[in-house]
């Protein structure tokens, strides 16, 4: 029996079947469940299913899942992991007053550090960046972090994280995996217009760029490169191709995805920026992104030091897949080609990716591919 189970069926019995098969595979000590939002499972029935799972589990309901060389709007992936898994839930992820370091300390007092942490968050919670900073402050530099934001593309917040106790929402699940992982992060976006300074920002809403109205500046640049002039109505569609990039010394830029423009011309992004940050306007075509995904997978493979991974776990951005449309399967193909036919590639298309790039500080990314080999 394989540790990797995929069902394209949206039915709960299909999920139960996948869970049972993955659980009974030899050497499996814990489970990861990645389900598509399009399944529209009955919540209470799903809770009952999860509470019956005897192995420790971590999972989520995501906009789409990745399996079988492509993205799926329905179905589920269940991965039986040969490593022990210890999970903790951090609640109140939108709580404006929460000191997440304190909450993590309380919840994880008896949790040993390990080489790999799977960090899944409710992607529609309001304080993901604060949680990510707190997780790094507590668990630090010797852990590989990977994960992302669960939730629905309807942008309606609902229970989307899966635990042995059932579904939870507005929370984060910290899953300590007792085993090494090889991790790489990449995106392939290229600068087309550099050096714009964020001069007024509140959290994830950019109000001014270069001391001017943010949308006015953004529109001037995008209109030079886009076939269609950008306005409030077509903003989401056009802006998908023109994200912001924040520089990091010696590392890949951190991508920030503008998803909406407000009436007063502020740009709403997925993830926070800081006043004083220099941002570049980026773009890419599908080929560049596909190439970058393959290159990212190659870096991960290099880190395995010739040990054979059981599975390639992919957290890829949903907006990247929406941008690539039918080309997205090529991205999965590129990764599969690099990791090899023996290693199943599965994962989720998420609302923001979480990883520490394999080399440094933990980040919340947009439009980025996180490949980990477990």
């Amino acid at each position: 029996m394989s540790i990797f189970q995929f069902t394209s069926s949206p039915s709960l019995p299909a999920l139960v079947d996948a869970i049972e098969k993955a659980s009974s595979a030899p050497g499996v000590r814990s489970l990861m469940i990645l389900a598509a939002d399009g399944n529209d499972y009955d919540g209470e029935a799903l809770d009952a299913v999860l509470s019956r799972v005897e192995l420790p589990l971590i999972g989520g309901i995501f906009p789409q899942i990745v399996a079988d060389s492509n993205a799926h709007e329905q179905g589920a992936v269940v991965v039986g992991l040969p490593q022990a898994l210890d999970t903790r839930v951090i609640n109140g992820l939108s709580d404006g007053d929460a000191d997440f370091e304190e909450r993590i300390d309380e919840a994880c007092a008896d949790l040993e550090g390990s080489a790999t942490m799977i960090l899944l968050v409710d992607g529609l919670a309001r304080r993901i960046a604060a949680l990510v900073d707190a997780v790094y402050a507590v668990f630090g530099a010797t852990t590989n972090f990977l994960g992302g934001g669960a939730g629905s593309l309807s942008f309606q917040q609902k229970p989307c994280l899966l635990t042995n106790a059932g579904r939870v929402m507005d929370a984060a699940i910290i899953g300590m995996l007792d085993g090494a992982s090889a991790l790489a992060v990449g995106h392939g976006w290229q600068t087309i217009d550099p050096d714009h300074r964020i001069t007024l920002v509140s959290g994830n809403v950019i109000r001014e760029i270069d001391d001017r109205n943010a949308f006015a500046v953004y529109r001037e640049i995008v209109d030079q490169h886009s076939a269609m002039a950008i306005d409030a109505d077509n903003f989401f569609e056009i802006a998908q191709a023109f994200p912001f990039g924040i520089n990091k010394l010696g590392g890949e830029m951190v991508v920030r995805d503008p998803i909406a423009v407000t009436e007063d011309g502020a740009l709403v992004c997925v993830g926070e920026l800081s006043e004083g940050d220099f941002v570049n306007i980026l773009t890419a075509d599908a080929n560049q992104l596909v190439w970058a995904a393959g290159e990212t997978a190659a870096r991960a493979v290099q880190l395995t030091k010739n040990t054979q991974p059981e599975v390639a776990l992919l957290f890829d951005c949903i907006s990247r897949a929406l941008f690539m449309k039918t080309h997205f399967h090529a991205e999965v193909d590129a990764i599969e080609a690099v990791v090899g036919a023996d290693v199943p590639v599965c994962g989720a298309l998420v609302l923001g990716e979480i990883a520490n790039s394999g080399t440094g500080y933990l980040e919340f990314y947009n439009k980025t591919t996180v490949v980990s080999l477990l």
């Binding site: 507590v138 630090g140 530099a141 010394l249």
Partner: protein, 565 residues
């Protein structure tokens, strides 16, 4: 170098400059050290793609701040041991890279930067930093060090402010304790003094020899002086505690001032000093004000002038400065040709417990409170006590204030008959219940009431009074109750409430007037006592005439009470 390499390096330079700019913008935005370091180190890690960042003080192996908290492993500790044991000897080293180490066979790199006068910044990374970046980080370290020094200075200020606040609280508590002590002591001293004064009144009415009358005069004078001082202390502490308020009742300025001046006429004459009063003829006859406090102020000013003037003159003036419809501006001044004061002495006037010169206490006596109280009272009237003096030439003290002109009404005094002839008590009053815990006052009340021809029953506290009221003999009921307020077991207010309840329960019983007696009346007390069911309030020391008048006024009113059958 190939063109491609050159372009690549140029790009890296540009990125480096932007990142350093971002770092410099992000550092130093808080005066709280923990917040500063938390925010700054997070940005340093993010922008420089670091693994661990920490700040250490000189000679301290424990970091001031470290992120991530588990980032200080043995390898890092070991390469920091030299720096961290160095202490402050390197305090003047510039902000720059001080030390660097390659760890884990080159898989990690540890950099130690000096933060002048603050300590060390430690940064670990997977990838090494190039020399250019390391040099470029020096200004960032300088800014972080400056920010840390600002935090320390701010912390020092906060601690100083906290200490000052604590000192202020302690001072206020001490002040409050002192005021309470003064008020308590004044009360405690006044109680026996009231006994002395009361018995002196009675004693004076007995048959005395000329010598005895002379001695008695001296005792009376001394007692009055002592009572004056005690009253001053009480006034001062009341005012300090914000419990003193001025009345706004019609008063006749001419009469008020004349009475005060007359008080000092004999003393001035004995010192060969001419004391006279000059009143502006344009003055309105009656104004609104607090006659008692006005007398107190003027009395203090004249007392001082007379005290420090021998064979000279003391002129008391009351001038009208301005008059508009129902308001007028007035000035009172007391000018003497006495010993005068230096500016230093003047500056000390008005400070409680301080006299212009300590030698004056020895020579002229006085508590030093009188003028302090005057200053407070004048200030409450909206004026300012002004002093003009020259040593050897004399002193002028005075103040200006504004007040409203009182409407002329029919004189009310006439209804009370001649001030010197107490109204005779109504014939129906025979029996008084005296509620008083102090044995001296009990004795005094007994003597006073006997002299008025009244029978009395004594209760030593409120509970005894209620019992006596309940068990009174209806053939000789209490016609009036003199009720002390502050007593052990049960106070006068509670006793009055219970007596009123008993009267309500026994519908056929007439209401018995209750007169409150208190040695320490505050503004609003009378209204409070009346609201509790009492009928009038008298202050101790008990004035025979006031007692007589009050009983005469209250009891007939009660007799006409329609509730009385």
């Amino acid at each position: 170098m190939s063109p491609t390499q050159a372009v690549g390096e140029h790009l890296q330079d540009e990125i480096r400059i932007r990142i350093l700019y971002e770092l410099s913008m992000a550092i130093g935005n808080s005066l709280d050290r923990r917040k500063l370091l938390s925010e700054s180190l997070k940005v340093i890690l993010r922008k420089l793609d670091g693994l661990t960042a920490g700040v250490f003080g000189y000679g301290d192996p424990d970091p001031l701040f470290l992120t991530p908290r588990r980032g200080l492993d043995e390898a890092v500790r070991s390469c920091l041991s030299h720096v961290l044991s160095t202490g402050r000897s390197l305090v003047d080293t510039p902000a720059e890279l001080y030390d660097s180490h390659s760890l884990d066979d080159g898989r990690r790199h540890c950099y130690v930067f000096h933060l002048p006068d603050s300590g060390w910044l430690v940064l670990t990374r997977h990838m090494p930093l190039d020399d250019q970046t390391l040099r470029a980080l020096a200004p960032i370290c300088e800014k972080l060090a400056t920010s840390l020094r600002s935090c320390a200075a701010n912390q020092e200020l906060i601690e100083k402010e906290r200490n000052l606040a604590q000192t202020l609280t302690a001072l206020c508590e001490a002040q409050s304790a002192r005021d309470q002590f003064l008020a308590n002591m004044s009360h405690e001293i006044r109680t026996p003094l009231n006994g002395i004064m009361g018995f002196l009144d009675l004693f004076e009415q007995t048959r005395l020899t000329a010598e005895q009358r002379d001695y008695l005069g001296t005792i009376r004078h001394s007692s009055s002086s002592l009572l004056g001082i005690i009253n001053d202390i009480l006034d001062f502490s009341k005012n300090d505690a914000g419990m003193l308020q001025l009345e706004q009742a019609p008063l006749t300025l001419h009469d008020t001032l004349s009475a005060v001046v007359r008080l000092f006429a004999r003393q001035a004459e004995a010192q060969g000093t001419r004391l006279y009063l000059t009143i502006d003829p344009r003055l309105p006859r009656r104004v609104l004000g607090d006659a008692l406090r006005l007398k107190q102020i003027v009395s203090n000013l004249i007392s001082n002038a007379v005290k420090f003037t021998e064979n000279g003159t003391v002129e008391v003036r009351l001038d009208l400065l301005d008059q508009q419809s129902d308001r007028c501006a007035l000035e009172i001044s007391v000018r003497d040709t006495g010993i005068g004061m230096t500016q230093e002495m003047i500056d000390r006037i008005g400070q409680p417990f301080a006299q212009a010169d300590s030698s004056t206490t020895r020579r002229y006596g006085g508590s030093g409170l009188g003028l302090a109280i005057c200053k407070q009272l004048v200030s409450m009237m909206g004026g300012e006590l002004e002093i003009d003096s020259q040593p050897g030439r004399g002193t002028t003290m005075g103040f200006r204030w504004q007040t409203r002109i009182a409407e002329e009404t029919v004189a009310v005094d006439s209804s009370h008959g001649s001030p010197t002839a107490p109204k005779p008590l109504p014939s129906g009053i025979r029996h008084v219940l005296v509620v008083e815990d102090n044995p001296v006052n009990q004795k005094l009340m007994k003597a006073v009431l006997s002299k008025m021809g009244l029978e009395q029953t004594l209760a030593a506290n409120g509970a005894e009074a209620v019992a006596a009221f309940e068990n009174q003999d209806y053939r000789a009921p209490f016609d009036v109750i003199l009720m002390d307020i502050s007593m052990p077991v049960m106070d006068g207010l509670e006793a009055t409430r219970r007596i009123r309840m008993l009267e309500l329960e026994s519908s056929g019983r007439a209401r018995t007037p209750v007169i409150a007696l208190t040695a320490n009346a505050l503004n609003g007390d009378r209204e409070r006592f009346l609201a509790e069911g009492m009928d009038e309030m008298l202050t101790k020391p008990l004035d025979l005439r006031a007692l007589n008048d009050t009983i005469s006024r209250i009891v007939p009113n009660q007799a006409n009470d329609p509730t009385e059958e």
